[in-house]
Symmetry: C2
Subunit: 393 residues, 2 copies
Amino acid sequence: MKALGLIVEYNPFHNGHLHHLRESQKQAQSDVVIAVMSGHFTQRGEPALLDKWHRTQTALDAGVDLVAELPYAYATQHAEIFAKGAISILSHLQADCLIFGSEIGKISQLHKIEALTRSENFQIQLKKHLSTGLSLPKAQSLAIQDLGYSQKIAQQPNNTLGIHYLKAINELHSPLIAGTIPRIHSAYAETAPSHSSITSATAIRNLLATGQPVQDFIPPSTLKQLFPERLIPSWEPYFASLRQKILTLGPDGLRDIHDMKEGLEQRFYQSAITAQNFEALMEQVKTKRYTRTRLQRICAHILTHTTGAFIKNLDLDQPAPYVRILGMSPTGRRYLNHIKKQIPVPLYSKFSETAHPMLKHEQKVTGAYGTALSPRIWTQLNVDEFSHIPILS
Amino acid sequence: MKALGLIVEYNPFHNGHLHHLRESQKQAQSDVVIAVMSGHFTQRGEPALLDKWHRTQTALDAGVDLVAELPYAYATQHAEIFAKGAISILSHLQADCLIFGSEIGKISQLHKIEALTRSENFQIQLKKHLSTGLSLPKAQSLAIQDLGYSQKIAQQPNNTLGIHYLKAINELHSPLIAGTIPRIHSAYAETAPSHSSITSATAIRNLLATGQPVQDFIPPSTLKQLFPERLIPSWEPYFASLRQKILTLGPDGLRDIHDMKEGLEQRFYQSAITAQNFEALMEQVKTKRYTRTRLQRICAHILTHTTGAFIKNLDLDQPAPYVRILGMSPTGRRYLNHIKKQIPVPLYSKFSETAHPMLKHEQKVTGAYGTALSPRIWTQLNVDEFSHIPILS
């Protein structure tokens, strides 16, 4: 069985994802599709619009065969760690190839850039840009431009992510064959629709947040999972909880939080005293050095109480220490039975108290994520975290 | 100037408090009235109905001359520590006498019981009752009964508190002269009014929580401070925040919280997974050994992130390490100027970053308390905590 690997957030699953799925299947001539998916918080440090179980359902409904969880510890980090977690899980699951969307749309070009980023010259340029106080993504983009690439290619976020996938495949000595398909009609960060049937997940979340219709942009199978009482289209509903946590941890407690670099804890603390909503908090905390994405990730770490000591102990440079299945189709189940013995790490289809600390942390993540939902749905998610067995499509 | 000392919560100030104030002034023939008042959380471990600044205003409006804050670290503890904090602050402020309400209404009787509780016999009985798994208040009450007192006298909460005041005066070698006046018409824990103009603060909070009129039971000066958007009549509005904190701290983090005795952290954690409101949480956590009051105090410690290590470092057996003034009348100000040099500890009329850790902790307390209020009022309280100067009546 030829297995196609995808790295996804499906936040929410939309027509662009469907296009990517179909095109990837065609290109790979695959028999089974494996998706590694972020859980309750995304790489941009945002609470997922819809919980991971319902997002898994939308993936299965669209034809994905096996959904594995990208643990919070990888999913809410910068591209390098995110990629390492995702690539290693696809490798554990014996995927043959990875196909991802990119703006550039040509894998040879991305391989070329990735090779160049390993050069000494690139590292020198990168250090130079970092020393001026720029954020890592910005400095990387400028260093790629210094190698002769256009600003456009260097800044497009899916190109960047793709380069990190290739880098992770290389560093992990993964046998995964990478391919890319061009993204169509929509930029990743597009905030309003510009095409009749495809737009970005960000634009869809914005439409939902303002009560506008989204049925043009997502398949009917996704639409029926978007129960209004389960949707969290922004950080705002977490604001009171987040503010309280910042104020009661205080600067000393905040210093223990992962990625809270020196001085930032004071900015968070002082801003939380007066900020009256999440946007105001971000506005007050931001500096040139920290991207909005990075600050949001830190907010997720505060909310989930993810400490620096915890992350350090996990040693995220290594391949993911386990695989957790969130859902599977009959084909996915057959495939899993077939390759089970070749998986080099523990395979979880159910939560376990004796599991790896990285998996146990998902309890806290779900506990924090539920804050914006009704007590009833929150309870259901908590209980699911302990006892859910993979969704069968 | 003869100074009368009172120990109060004024949650909220009502006609019973007014009666107590007038009767105490008469009995003491005082020139100035000093009240030591709990801040944002009360001795029963509940968020105060109204913030401390507005409660201070109601005290001044009723004729109190000087309001000093009983720090959170004393205010949310069992009677022994509560009493030690309050008595030491009154002593620091050179009060001549303390008058408190009690069910028994005779100071000689309370002195007699207090002396008996220092006997070896009492200690033996106390230990015996504690060893059966009873809570401390219950065991104390039974041990007093063993000395020959009626169940009624032994269980009445204001008698108990009064005995602890006398004990603290004794242990701190305070020159305070104690007196008591009989409480009238209302039991402390009365939950519904039984008299036409006086009822308990609990009953008033219940009336407010259910939208019923309270003007019969509180003076007009209090009534005008009870802005609906500032009232917090129960723990319920904190539930999401508290649950999130319990779930993200996890059993390991909960173990660091003050008074979280062995095994209790698991009960809190497991209960928070499914409990859908505060009452359900209390119902699930409670055992014979822990009173509702104690569990509520622990909830306050979780919410304010008050750790056991923090409390231990404060050494609460000692007299209060500072005096913080929340408000004063012109008489109170003259009195304070008069006795200022005799106060053996630092006197704060404004928050200070270099202040004692016990005072700095009030920032966290206010940060937690604000969670149930609008972002605007919360901000105002946070800023007040840093920059408020005493209210002048």
